[in-house]
């Protein structure tokens, strides 16, 4: 009878919080005692960023029920806004933690604005059409950022599009077209990554268990019925989409400020797909699943280093096999039987 019940959800939310805190403490201690390899150490912040990305996409795909193939676009906006903001404020805000926070808020805000701009027209479309438009949007963002030049000198900010057509006496380039942002001061820390994950979880869990969240999920389950009980389709679809976009923006800032250099190409269609893979493997609407999938699959290619050339091939095969094993009725039953036998033996 267990599967019939959806209650006790709140209890599992607390378990997710506890799990994330525990993981943070363990890795912090390992990092402090030097038990982590340097590559793993360097992966800590990106893993946090991808976890937030997966959580935020899960809000769109799992909770709102719309397929987005351009989520990296929002990450990109957050990354470049954050990197430019952090660089521009280097003198104004000496405290790196505070600067990171401001950069992150700016990144999230701009991504939210983009979310509104895209969402208002696009959320009227259904299913695969919405997916293709999000894909198109992601590519457009990439092209725009590739052609954007921003510089700052003593006279203020300079901006140009397509060609670099301003000259500066002193100062520096903040965003240099296809070269992206270089020489980023790495102010993202594992602690800030952890805090962002926690904030993301609080936002998503609290939203889902509130009036607005119920309206969003009602739209996912049956749009016509939701309208018939007086739910404003545009408002709640947009709400879900924009919250998701702004979280992706914050994740982008976190990620950008942990890298030396970022380029627009880094946030292309493949990144969107990568995050979607995390979400689907972790389970739609299952936040802990997204966290585990994102963390494991971001680290996995590093762990597969010894296979060197074969690692991405192995990754692809593992991905296909997991999808087959979890979605094919015959294989599913087969696995269920194996686990049942194991369980029986234990007893």
């Amino acid at each position: 009878m267990k599967k019939f019940f959806t209650s006790k959800m709140k209890k599992s939310n607390w378990l997710v919080y506890a799990g994330v805190i525990l993981a943070f403490v363990v890795f912090q201690v390992m990092s402090g005692t030097g038990a982590l390899s340097s590559t793993m150490e360097g992966q800590l912040v990106p893993v946090c960023a991808y976890v937030v990305m997966a959580l935020s996409l899960n809000l769109t795909v799992g909770v709102l029920g719309e397929l987005s193939l351009g989520h990296a676009g929002f990450m990109s906006i957050g990354a470049f806004t954050g990197a430019v903001t952090a660089a521009a404020l280097e003198g104004a805000i000496p405290n790196s933690g505070l600067r990171l926070l401001v950069a992150m808020i700016m990144g999230a805000l701009l991504a939210a604005v983009a979310g509104v701009l895209v969402g208002v027209p696009v959320l009227r479309l259904r299913g695969d059409y919405l997916a293709i438009v999000t894909l198109a949007f992601g590519e457009i963002i990439k092209s725009i950022i590739t052609n954007l030049y921003i510089g700052m000198d003593s006279t203020g900010l300079h901006c140009s599009f397509l060609n670099l057509n301003f000259t500066m006496q002193d100062g520096k380039m903040l965003l240099n077209g296809p070269m992206g942002v270089t020489g980023i001061e790495k102010i993202s820390t594992f602690l800030s990554g952890f805090l962002l994950i926690m904030v993301t979880l609080v936002i998503i869990f609290n939203l889902v268990n509130s009036r607005s969240g119920r309206a969003i999920m009602a739209l996912r389950d049956n749009r016509i019925a939701a309208e018939s009980v007086g739910i404003n389709v545009t408002k709640y679809k947009l709400m879900g989409f924009v919250i998701s976009a702004s979280l992706a923006g914050a994740a982008g800032t976190l990620f950008a400020l942990s890298q030396n250099t970022i380029m627009a190409n880094k946030f292309d269609f493949n990144t969107s797909i990568l995050v979607l893979v995390f979400v689907v493997l972790g389970g739609l609407g299952r936040m802990w699943g997204s966290i585990i999938a994102a963390a494991t699959l971001t680290v996995l290619p590093e762990l597969l280093r010894e296979f060197s050339d074969y690692r991405m091939l192995v990754y692809a095969i593992v991905l296909i096999l997991i999808m087959l094993a979890t979605n094919n009725p015959t294989l599913k039953g087969w696995f269920a039987r194996i686990f049942k036998r194991k369980g029986a033996e234990k007893e």
């Binding site: 438009v133 590519e139 457009i140 692809a316 991905l319 296909i320």
Partner: protein, 294 residues
């Protein structure tokens, strides 16, 4: 004026390639309701097969093309059997992710087998071209062949779908799989045939693509694949004439945007036009509007 004509012809040529790829997307989508993201990578495999046949084994380009078609058809059918068929009952998202897995697999296998160093695709037509208006207007043979191939394929495919028994079965399956099955149509076989045809078309597209853009790498197919998919949606996914129209228009827009606005923004403009079209006509140019039953 002549340069405009030049761009237009180039646009139609590129659009023809997109249209041929889009046909594969649209047929598979129409019948299996899945986005076959590995389609673009089958193009790449086709191009590599033809490349090795022509440059390493010194075979005639036509033989190379036939080899590419055979290999891609077998590959497409195999992928369908191994990866997609077990998921017939699964959600479309699960199939989508599997298709992405297949796409990764093909790209990385190609990288292992053939390295990521670009291969220069041989110039099959030796740069032959028709020069008009004192060389102001140049139409290469490859352009002509591409456009001709697209027209021939469209005619053959339309006839096949309209007239043949298998074509009728395909249309029936795309309308209602359950009803088709009850009428004695082998749905699984029909889907496999659709994949085979789509993959054969991908091989042709791959060879044509590389005669125009000769640099061949393991990711050659992904961007044209995405754009062709866009073209299919643009024209109305599931519709064969829609794929042709969408492909050609997309090709023209891309070349024109590159020529008159900015090369680095041409992709962005293509996608922006797509978004505009979908906002005005949410099911694409030739897509059917379906009234939701309440």
């Amino acid at each position: 004026m002549l340069s405009f004509l030049n761009h237009l012809i180039n646009g139609i040529s590129l659009g023809s390639i997109y249209a041929i790829i889009a046909l594969g997307y649209t047929m598979v989508y129409g019948i299996a309701k899945m986005l076959n993201f590995a389609h673009g990578d089958i193009i790449m495999v086709g191009a590599y097969v033809c490349f090795f046949a022509v440059s390493s084994f010194q075979l005639h380009p036509v033989v190379g093309l036939l080899l590419a078609i055979i290999v891609c058809t077998v590959l497409g059918t195999l992928i369908e059997k191994l990866a997609y068929k077990p998921l017939r009952q699964a959600t479309s998202l699960a199939v989508l992710i599997t298709a992405i897995g297949v796409s990764y697999f093909l790209q990385n296998a190609a990288q292992l087998l053939w390295t990521s160093n670009p291969k220069l695709f041989p110039d099959i037509f030796n740069g032959a071209a028709i020069k008009l208006f004192d060389g102001e207007l140049i139409i290469t043979v490859s352009t002509l062949v591409t456009i001709a191939a697209c027209i021939v394929i469209m005619i053959l495919l339309t006839a096949f779908i309209d007239k043949s028994k298998t074509g009728k079965a395909m249309r029936a399956c795309s309308e209602d799989k359950g009803a088709a099955q009850l009428m004695g149509i082998n749905v699984n076989r029909t889907i496999s045939i659709t994949f085979a045809i789509g993959s054969a078309l991908a091989a042709v597209a791959g060879v044509l693509l590389c005669t125009t853009y000769p640099s061949l790498v393991p990711t050659t197919g992904s961007m044209p694949g995405i754009k062709a998919f866009t073209a299919a949606v643009f024209g109305g996914i599931g519709s064969v004439p829609g794929a042709l129209l969408g492909g050609i228009l997309l090709g023209i827009i891309e070349i024109m945007a590159g020529a008159y606005i900015s090369t680095s923004l041409s992709n962005a403009i293509v996608f922006a036009v797509l978004i505009l079209v979908l906002l005005i006509k949410p099911t694409g140019l030739l897509g059917k509007q379906i009234r939701e039953k309440v």
